[in-house]
């Protein structure tokens, strides 16, 4: 390695230029942050017990300790599997996940009669189940990182994964309602005893496909034909794939009765399309298509009814939840009242009455939390999510291959979009949809899928920060000045090349 090669592989690593031949992995920063997270969670759990039970029981720390062990395992695994990964990603997820477990434990307490709360086992209830799912999810993410040593290898299975994604999306739509419908949204596959939400996994599969497809087609798709209002619009025949995904998401909207999932898939596609082509027109077209589709569905629901009815009812509820506060608007009304009751500072962990909000374990966990930790606490949570999203995008920016950029960018944005869709839904910013809040909501599917997503993000982040010498693909040193010979395909961005 020559000295000139050093700046280019680790552009964001402030410790990289300190004279050490090996750039910092910053794993100790991660460990420190994890300890900080564990401290927050222990205090949170103690306050919950103090408020909900009236005393802090001797085993208040048990669940948090188990969580800490799980995260420690994740940390160790990252030391071996992705030593250069961004040290902030794991602790942010750990914080959100930990608050989720602690809050579910808090709901377990709320459902127990006051005198019996002190004796409520820490090895049971939703809190402990979520703890189990966390362990399973992290093991899953570690296995995924073990298998996928280089994220680019995923692109080899793009078509397979894309097909799998579509199948996963469509299974609940095709299944009869009694096997797939929970609270009006057909998003599930119900087995005796448990259910899974295949859409959560489909997200990742579809993203692999989108990223691969768009890297291949981006030249065509960014070809401009018409200029209108200073924006280049693509040729009509290039609209094909967008229309296809739009139709797919509309089908989701109509047959799975879920605007949120539909918005997720479509948003995911449009954003990756935009990243690939740098054409703002795609964003405008995409937004137009989506709003048009949603409005059409609303209009059809009002006039025709049938499969569109659910959506128009949701939109009506969104516009004025208090109009039917006892039936259709009940969930949203109770959610808003919970948020309002929390106010600026909240009632305090364990001191509110989150069980007044229906589905507070899953869809409405954010409003349940809002009552207890207030606007301050929710803002802290939102900032944590935002940090995670921005860190994911940073990994995308720093990684050197197009596929990785698109994939990581898509993953990060999808995560943010999901938070937006559900938190916006429960706070009446947008119509309510049945999304889970990533890492917070009770539920194995969501937790496992989102941890797999984090596993991949860590993998890409590792690649993006890995010094050239440690990278699996040797010979990247000279690439920054032009097309590199030994580099994998699409390693360099040449957006000017495609404009003809």
């Amino acid at each position: 390695m020559t000295a000139t090669a050093i700046p280019s592989p680790s552009p964001t690593d402030p410790g990289g230029g300190a004279g050490a031949p090996r750039p910092h992995t910053r794993r100790n920063v991660e460990l420190g942050l994890l300890l900080f997270v564990a401290a927050i969670l222990v205090v949170y759990a103690a306050v919950v017990e103090g408020n909900a039970i009236g005393e802090v029981t001797p085993d208040f720390w048990v669940q948090i300790a188990i969580l800490a062990v799980i995260f420690a395992v994740a940390h160790l695994a990252i030391r071996f599997l992705a030593p250069y990964a961004d040290p902030v990603i794991l602790p942010t997820v750990a914080l959100i996940n930990g608050i989720g477990v602690a809050f579910l434990r808090r709901l377990d307490l709320a459902r127990t009669k006051a005198p019996l709360r002190a004796d409520l086992s820490v090895f049971g209830g939703d809190g402990f189940r979520q703890l189990g799912w966390t362990a399973a999810a992290i093991i899953g993410a570690i296995i995924l990182m073990l298998i996928v040593r280089d994220h680019r290898s995923l692109s080899r299975y793009a078509y397979t994964l894309g097909l799998a994604g579509i199948v996963l999306v469509l299974i609940p739509a095709v299944l009869p309602a009694r096997f797939s419908s929970i609270n009006g949204a057909k998003l599930w596959i119900k087995f005796p005893g448990f259910s899974i939400q295949p859409g959560e996994f489909a997200k990742i599969c579809l993203l692999v496909f989108f990223a691969y497809y768009l890297v291949r087609k981006r030249e065509v798709l960014s070809m401009a034909s018409k200029r209108f209002l200073g924006i280049d619009f693509p040729r009509g025949r290039d609209l094909g794939p967008v229309v296809l995904v739009w139709l797919l998401s509309l089908m989701v909207l109509i047959f799975e009765k879920d605007l949120g999932t539909s918005l997720m898939y479509f948003g995911m596609f449009v954003v990756t399309l935009y990243i690939a082509t740098v054409r703002v027109s795609w964003l405008i077209i995409g937004l137009g298509f989506f709003l048009g589709g949603a409005f059409l569905a609303y209009f059809l629901g009002k006039t025709v009814g049938g499969p569109f009815l659910n959506f128009s009812e949701r939109a009506t509820t969104w516009l004025d939840p208090f109009a039917d506060a006892d039936n259709k608007g009940y969930q949203l009304v109770q959610s808003l009242l919970g948020l309002g009751t929390g106010g600026l500072t909240g009632a305090g962990p364990g001191a509110g009455q989150p069980t007044k909000v229906p589905e507070v374990r899953t869809d409405f966990i954010f409003s349940g939390l809002g009552e207890e930790i207030g606007l301050f606490g929710l803002t802290a949570l939102l900032v944590t999510y935002l940090l995670l999203v921005e860190r994911g995008l940073r990994a995308a920016i720093n990684v050197r291959d197009s596929f990785g950029k698109l994939f990581a960018g898509g993953l990060a944005f999808t995560l943010g979009l999901q938070v937006f869709v559900i938190v916006g839904g429960i706070s009446q910013l947008i119509p309510l949809t049945g999304q889970t809040t990533p890492f917070l909501s009770a539920g194995g599917s969501s937790l496992v899928a989102n941890w797999l997503l984090i596993g991949l993000l860590l993998r890409i982040s590792d690649a993006s920060r890995r010094p050239a010498g440690g990278a699996p693909s040797i010979g990247l040193g000279g690439v920054s000045t032009g097309g590199g010979g030994g580099a994998p395909v699409q390693i360099q961005e040449l957006p000017t090349e495609v404009v003809r």
Partner: protein, 506 residues
């Protein structure tokens, strides 16, 4: 591809900023609305940490009290007098919104009102827990008791009705009863499920026990409205005195009509010529219908009704901003016909005798009688006399407030004279309201209310002593049928007597 990725980062930032702004709106701007929203079933456990203040009537008897429980919710709200004061005071349940005075004075009863800020600051230094304040009402024990008992034991076995008694000089509410009533203890119980079930049961009861018929509902006032018609006629034409002769007769047919006729309650009570006083005494429909159409006209009739408070909610002074007591405005209706809103003489004729679309609340009825007794000065009603700190010092006191002067002192004196006659004349319709030792005046009313059910019985009146008003009262018997107004007059007399006795006025 880095530039678009950075822009996507900005998009994510914008999305989260939208969430943040919206959460600010929900948790800060709308926080109080949501926290106190009636659908918000959250137990305000902090409100049960210390004794909620008492609600006490004018004789010092607690209507709403707090009992220590030794449970998580440390105090239980109790209503020792059960259903006697239910509608006036309201109730404070654990998991539903409080109502009426319990809701209006919630902060003060809990001890978090602005008026108690000094106490709370002092508490920081003395270490004494700030306690809830007491709410002292104007309601008179004897009057409320008499109203509740006499209305409940009416001879016609009518199940629903209302009584409102006022001090005509101040507007202080002395009694406010609505029947059927309910026991608020059923709703304040800490057994949330039982409270919910009880609420559902009361709410779905076709007899509507939770409806406050005294202030919340309006009914056709029938002949009691003739006081307003008479007031309007005398205000229009000062030569019209109680002894002036007016045209009566068995029938009245308004001009431009062929088939429509107003007739009297009984044949033979109303000669062709009689005095205005006599017309009110025997409640002559034809006289007042003719006066309404030919002397007053729709506009001036409506204007006089409005001057007495129709079309405006007669809110209690302390409840002026919120109207948590749900007082309803009385209405005269448009008295027009057809699409062009042309004045319709039959409508005016019927409205002049309190029918057609005229609707009045018992509270408004009591206010009309009070205004006449008070020489034309209408006082704004109020129920909360004082707010008292936990250390029994006064935090606030309600000052009586004159609302309007719908009629001159002369017209008021004339009306008094005519209304005395209703009670004292041998052929007066309100004879049963008489109270020995007091000058009682009033007006009966029998009102058809559309359906086949019996007519409503009304009496609105007042008692005076040595030319000074003592008490005014409105009694309403819903669908009482035959004899309803006479029974209402009898109850009114007993209620007024109870107040006079309590005050030692003989």
């Amino acid at each position: 591809m880095n530039a678009p990725l950075r822009r996507v980062g900005v998009v994510a930032l914008v999305l989260f900023a939208m969430l943040f702004v919206n959460l600010n709106y929900r948790q800060v701007v709308k926080a109080d609305d949501y926290r106190t929203h009636p659908r918000n079933g959250r137990v305000q456990a902090s409100e049960y940490e210390r004794a909620r203040g008492k609600i006490i009537n004018a004789q010092g008897i607690a209507i709403a009290d707090s009992q220590e429980t030794g449970d998580t919710l440390k105090f239980l709200r109790t209503y020792p007098l059960k259903d006697k004061y239910a509608h006036v005071v309201g109730f404070k349940p654990v998991n539903l919104g409080a109502t009426a005075l319990e809701k209006l004075n919630n902060d003060f009863l809990v001890g978090t009102s602005d008026k108690q800020a000094a106490d709370r600051i002092a508490g920081l230094f003395t270490g004494k827990d700030p306690a809830g304040g007491n709410v002292l009402l104007t309601l008179s024990q004897a009057t409320q008791e008499a109203a509740y008992t006499q209305l409940g034991n009416n001879k016609l076995k009518v199940k629903s009705g209302a009584v409102v008694a006022l001090n005509p000089e101040t507007g202080a509410v002395l009694a406010e009863v609505s029947l059927p009533s309910y026991d608020p203890n059923l709703l304040s119980t800490h057994d949330i499920n039982a409270a919910g079930a009880n609420y559902k049961k009361l709410d779905s009861d076709p007899a509507k026990p939770m409806l406050n018929r005294a202030v919340q509902e309006i009914y056709p006032p029938g002949s009691t409205f003739k006081i307003i018609t008479a007031a309007a006629a005398m205000s229009v034409d000062s030569s019209l005195t109680p002894d002036a002769t007016v045209q009566g007769g068995e029938f009245y047919q308004p001009p431009q009509t062929s088939s429509f006729r107003i007739k009297n309650a009984h044949e033979g009570i109303c000669p062709e010529q009689l005095t205005l006083k006599q017309a009110l005494t025997v409640s002559c429909n034809t006289v007042f219908a003719r006066m309404g159409v030919e002397r007053i006209g729709a506009e001036r009739l409506k204007a006089m009704a409005q001057a007495f408070g129709f079309e405006t909610e007669p809110r209690f002074i302390e409840d002026q901003d919120k109207n948590y007591c749900n007082v309803a405005a009385s209405h005269t209706g448009p008295m027009t016909a057809g699409a062009n809103n042309v004045v319709d003489p039959p409508a005016v004729a019927q409205s002049s005798i309190g029918q057609r679309e005229v609707k009045m609340s018992p509270l408004q009825g009591a206010m009309i009688a009070a205004t006449v007794a008070n020489g034309g000065r209408e006082m704004q009603p109020y129920i909360v006399d004082r707010l008292q700190n936990a250390d029994l010092s006064n935090a606030d006191r309600t000052d009586p407030k004159e609302l309007r002067r719908p009629i001159s002192g002369d017209v008021a004196a004339n009306l008094q004279q005519m209304m005395f006659s209703v009670v004292t004349s041998r052929d007066g319709t309100g004879r049963s309201a008489a109270v020995p030792g007091l000058q009682v005046g009033g007006k009966t009313g029998t009102a058809e209310d559309g359906d086949d059910a019996g007519d409503h019985g009304w009496f609105i009146g007042f008692a005076m002593k040595d030319g000074k008003p003592v008490v005014s009262v409105a009694v309403f018997l819903e669908n009482a049928g035959k004899g309803g107004s006479a029974e209402a007059a009898r109850i009114a007399g007993l209620v007024m007597k109870a107040y006079a006795d309590e005050k030692g006025i003989k």
